[in-house]
């Protein structure tokens, strides 16, 4: 009898210990799962933007924006506008007005492979119909907006309403051509291809598709709807609370190596084009976590954030990626 009592007592103590361990283990496992899921989301969100950035400035077989022009009716001689007339500070090019929804010539300004607004939502000049879609509930204050321009990775078929690039391998310096009427202005072969022009603006919305008041990363992407150019507003990932951008510039004579990073809108960007882009995203977990309090102050780029009391129960992570932009000359400069 005493042996059984002792065995039961030891078993009781050991089991109590084991269950305490189990409970702690479960908590740790849940926290671990939450962190893994959060990191997965963060990786996904940043890789979507980074892949876009990696292609920024890559247009078909290559182009010199100074000689880029817009044509119509499938005829290289029917030039609507070209060169500096495609820049955002020039009058709107005579193309369907919906192409200018996010700003005059915003979709055509391929000389700017990347641009961004600092701590507020903004697209192009005089953007009349570019506000975040109604269900998004507006943009999150304090978050940056990032716009990326490039051509599709693979050749495309001419499609009415889509802004497309007719790219000739041996005319990179003498004139690549944009068109939006679905009529390629020349023959198509291995050295002459049509590519879709990709113009995408990333921003942070207040609401996600499934949860009001739950922020989300969204993007406005230039596409075609019913034969007309349109900027389609789509959610990319819920839970992204903030997007911050900085541009890497070289303000020394070497002009190939990044010497420092500046915020969008910095005066230095007028003289030094960006060579690299660094993005930060702050992401919160899908659900609150028992016992977790996020009381730290997050500092990154030019942002500083401390969660309000009600939001401290969510685990967060901050992820950043630096992407070196493609293109540009190497070797001696003229």
């Amino acid at each position: 009898m005493p042996e059984l009592m002792i065995a039961l007592a030891i078993a009781g103590i050991t089991l109590a210990g084991a269950f305490t361990l189990l409970a702690h283990g479960r908590e740790l496992l849940n926290a671990n799962e939450s962190m893994t899921q959060l990191q997965d989301q963060a990786r996904h969100a940043v890789s979507v933007v980074a892949q876009d950035l990696e292609h920024a400035g890559s247009f078909g077989f290559g182009l010199d924006p100074a000689t880029l022009s817009v044509v119509r009716d499938g005829d290289l001689a029917r030039v609507i506008a070209g060169g500096d007339a495609l820049r955002q500070d020039a009058p709107r090019v005579a193309l369907p007005s919906s192409l200018h929804d996010c700003g005059g010539n915003f979709a055509l300004d391929l000389a700017l492979a990347v641009e961004a607004s600092n701590n507020h939502f903004a697209a192009g000049v005089d953007a009349s119909r570019c506000a975040p879609t109604a269900s998004a509930g507006g943009a999150v204050p304090g978050a940056d907006t990032l716009t990326v321009r490039h051509a599709s990775g693979e050749p495309a078929s001419p499609t009415p309403g889509k802004l497309q690039l007719y790219s000739r391998r041996f005319a990179t310096q003498s004139g690549q051509v944009l068109f939006a009427d679905g009529r390629a202005p020349g023959a198509l072969d291995a050295d002459r291809r049509v590519f879709d022009v990709v113009v995408r603006t990333y921003y942070i919305a207040r609401n996600s598709v499934e949860r009001e008041g739950w922020p989300a990363l969204r993007a406005k992407t230039l596409t075609a709807v019913a034969g007309e150019p349109r900027f389609r507003d789509e959610e990319i990932l819920p839970g992204v609370e903030d997007l911050q951008v900085q541009f890497g510039i070289s303000d020394t004579a070497s002009d190939v190596a990044v010497t420092r990073f500046v915020d969008p809108g910095a005066v230095e960007l007028r003289d030094f084009p960006p060579l690299a882009v660094r993005v930060w995203m702050r992401i919160r977990a899908d659900s609150s976590e028992r016992g977790h309090r996020d009381e730290r102050t997050w500092q990154y780029a030019d942002a500083e954030f401390m969660p309000a009391a009600a939001e401290q129960v969510f685990r967060r992570t901050l992820v950043s990626r630096t992407v070196v932009l493609q293109g540009g000359p190497r070797g001696p400069r003229s």
Partner: protein, 186 residues
């Protein structure tokens, strides 16, 4: 009673041991899955970086190659580290005329297409394609072929023309893209 209690301690201990073993196995399995996932991500990154290194290698070789050899296809295998390597091919695509220039010698843009396949462990693979244009003195047969063009195959440059003048030796990455696994050659 004494007879019935005999051996209970052993049974209880064995049960406890089994329970603790199960906990340990579950924790180890979870850790292993996470490690595998993290490793897969790393291998994908390695393959992408290897592909990128291949493009840089080919670019450097083409930039330092004698002009007479530029038309010869380039094929290289590069081992970056144990289990990380890339195969890179570069082909000459042709010359571009009408470069903005003020050189005494006619310049042309020699175009190359570089395809690089990076590989890493667990079958991680990435294909990248890049375009390169090197500004070179135009070869004789090219000068003949563009002689009838307006400007004789050269475009104006400088402040009046609003365009910078290109010089021999300059090079440009004309395009770069990741190639989907099943994509046809562009």
């Amino acid at each position: 009673m004494r007879t019935r209690a005999r051996g209970a301690a052993l049974i209880v201990s064995l049960l406890l041991l089994a329970l603790l073993t199960l906990f340990a196995l579950a924790a180890a399995s979870s850790a292993r899955i996470e490690h595998t996932l993290a490793s897969n991500e790393l291998f994908r990154e390695n393959a992408a970086n290897a592909a990128r290194a291949g493009i840089e290698l080919a670019t450097l070789e083409l930039l330092t190659m004698p002009h007479s050899d530029l038309a010869v296809p380039l094929q290289r295998h590069l081992t970056i580290a144990a289990g990380i390597d890339c195969d890179v091919r570069a082909r000459f695509a042709g010359y571009e005329a009408n470069l903005p220039q003020d050189s005494a010698v006619l310049l042309a843009g020699a175009h190359f297409e570089i395809t690089s396949t990076g590989q890493s462990a667990r079958g991680a693979r990435e294909v990248q394609r890049g375009g390169l244009m090197i500004v070179v003195p135009a070869p004789a047969e090219f000068i003949e072929s563009v002689a009838a063009m307006p400007g004789g195959g050269a475009a104006p440059c400088g402040e009046a023309a609003g365009r910078r003048c290109l010089q021999a030796g300059q090079s440009f990455t004309t395009f770069w893209r990741r190639v989907p696994e099943n994509a046809a050659s562009p």
